[in-house]
Symmetry: C2
Subunit: 328 residues, 2 copies
DNA sequence: GCCGCAACTGAAATCGGTTACAGTGTGCCG
DNA sequence: CGGCACACTGTAACCGATTTCAGTTGCGGC
């Protein structure tokens, strides 16, 4: 690879001038032209490693998510990426696989690679952000809140749970179950609380503990929990799915049992981008994942730019698309 | 951040020794202990930027894909990531959005950041790999083949098209349409050729041009093409979808028209991981995306390790899961 | 007791940029 | 015509690791 020195020699200027040409400080027009043409000839690309070493920063932001195969997170990633690349930053996508150790490894890399900042959907309530925060790098939490005093973007999870449940109640369903993600993840807990609230207001006689299941945030989790619910002596007549994949699993199982929605009511918190089901039979509480990514990226870029106001948490509103078919 | 010099001072050794401790060359036990404890105390993490600058390489590989929101590619990414992180490499995921310019930008970054290698599913037949190959960095093509003499991993696309079509023929369908991705992408063209081959053997009287549609590789594309096909004077009684998302779009449209499979036969090339449809009604030619990622990553790591045998192309076999329901 | 080898160690050069500092030259003003 | 501001330019010192090269030490063999 050609270096700045090669270019300087060919253009008959000093390396400093070459650097200045590429960084936009005052250089006479002829020299700019000379440098540009020399750079062209040599296919010169500035070496970012060297630049980063000197500048003590790199135009890279880390995005750590627990499941790269979940469309919710890729939609979010897409939002982050769009904002970041607009601003000249690239995004390193790290899949923590919901494991705190993998997450820690990636955060270590973020430090060692001098990344400018990190957007993270934590794996766990035990996620350790101490060391990355100690470096002074900005960190923005997405989707899940943390115990740290940092910027965050979350969904209105409790409201999502409530409106999903309410919509099913309004549809005439009664024994409305809830399948959520791991209990210790605040997102899951909040959504469950919302469901509980709506249901205990409408049908105070129901035993909600019986109808509540905590699973993984994956298709399997939804399937397993749905099977369990159907095996109950008195199975539910509707179900709220705590995230998109759980929803997919639950619907799959219902269909396999011949209980296509709206025979059993289904409300899903999260979108089902690749579902083939007629889109009217299921209530969907759409979570603005892309928007979350965009917001988080903007906040992070502001912090990188030196903004040091007190930390903020943005709560994004959801949008419910009610099942048009009402119970028969 | 603590540097190697701080550690050296605290441990009363030279910086070189500290470096050696972290890179495993011979250092006396006492010094190793001293360095380790000093490093511990100072929370020392070696600065990768500096290391990369000196080493002229970084344990990072780039993965460039055309659509980060397509589960096919995220499944593949997952495979790449697993192999890479096992080997101590991290993966930068770049979304080219099927645009050659975005792709070029990312490839430039790969060079400038000294990435060790790149795995790429090209955006287009005009994708320009010249500059990255000129740097001598290994590049592995996935999913789509290129005109360059480099390693590649592809699916048996023609066979996928043939077996999808054959399965529908065996199911008793006759006017079997094909909706593929952009004609100029070899993957799409090959799958179409496979379909054409099977169909013209079985039903030589059919006008295949009439039944062939090229769309984008996205849900919209599938929807639009399916609508067009249904609007034909003599609509098809079955359809082969050229990728997973096209399949989703096609099935959505069919369902909306009250033509749930198997009323109209559907075969999809690619998996439908998040579909809620009863999984038996649609034929799926499963493409081993994860395996493709794993294979590509291994090949790339071998090349990074200095392997310089002539370039290889691995063709992965598909697996068909026939629709169990046969036409009524 | 001397020699040679192996194991360790440190000083200093190096990777390729950025940038502080110290000029140089030009033009304008008084 | 002297002085000053300003625009431009080059030299050299960084950034924080790795690595070469040149020792130093200790030990076994003769």
């Amino acid at each position: 690879m050609a270096t700045i020195y090669d270019v300087a020699r060919l253009a008959q200027v000093s390396p400093a001038t070459v650097s200045r040409v590429f960084n936009g400080t005052s250089v006479s027009e002829e020299k700019v032209a000379a440098v540009r043409s020399a750079a062209e000839q040599l296919h010169f690309t500035p070496n970012r490693t060297a630049r980063n070493l000197r500048r003590q920063s790199s135009e890279v932001i880390g995005l750590v998510i627990p499941d790269i195969e979940n469309p919710y997170f890729t939609e979010m990633a897409r939002g982050v990426e769009d904002v970041a690349s607009e601003a000249g930053y690239s995004v390193v996508l790290c899949n923590s696989d919901a494991q705190v150790e993998k997450e820690a490894t990636y955060l270590r890399i973020a430090i060692a690679e001098h990344m400018s900042g990190v957007i993270i959907a934590t794996a766990d309530e035990h996620s350790d952000l101490d060391s990355i925060l100690a470096t002074g790098r900005p960190v923005v939490a997405v989707d899940r809140s943390t115990t740290y005093d940092i910027d965050g973007v979350v969904m209105a999870n409790r409201a999502a749970g409530t409106s999903a449940a309410k919509d099913l109640i309004d549809g005439g369903y009664r024994r409305i179950a809830y399948i959520g993600g791991p209990e210790h993840i605040d997102t899951a807990a909040e959504r469950a609380a919302g469901w509980r609230e709506a249901l205990s207001a409408a049908h105070p006689d129901l035993d909600l503990d019986d109808l509540e299941r905590f699973a993984t945030f994956r298709v399997d989790g939804g399937r397993e929990a749905m099977e369990q619910l159907l095996a109950l002596p008195e199975p539910p007549d509707a179900v709220v799915a705590g995230n998109n994949l759980i929803g997919v699993g639950a619907i799959q199982v219902l269909t396999e049992h011949g209980l296509t929605p709206p025979q059993v009511g289904v409300a899903v918190i999260g979108s089902l981008p690749f579902t083939t089901l007629s889109p009217t039979a299921v209530t969907v509480v759409r979570l603005p994942a892309r928007h979350m990514g965009v917001t988080a990226a903007r906040m992070l870029l502001e912090r990188i730019g030196g903004d040091d106001q007190p930390s903020r948490t943005v709560v994004l509103r959801n949008e419910i698309r009610s099942a048009s078919a009402v119970r028969v």
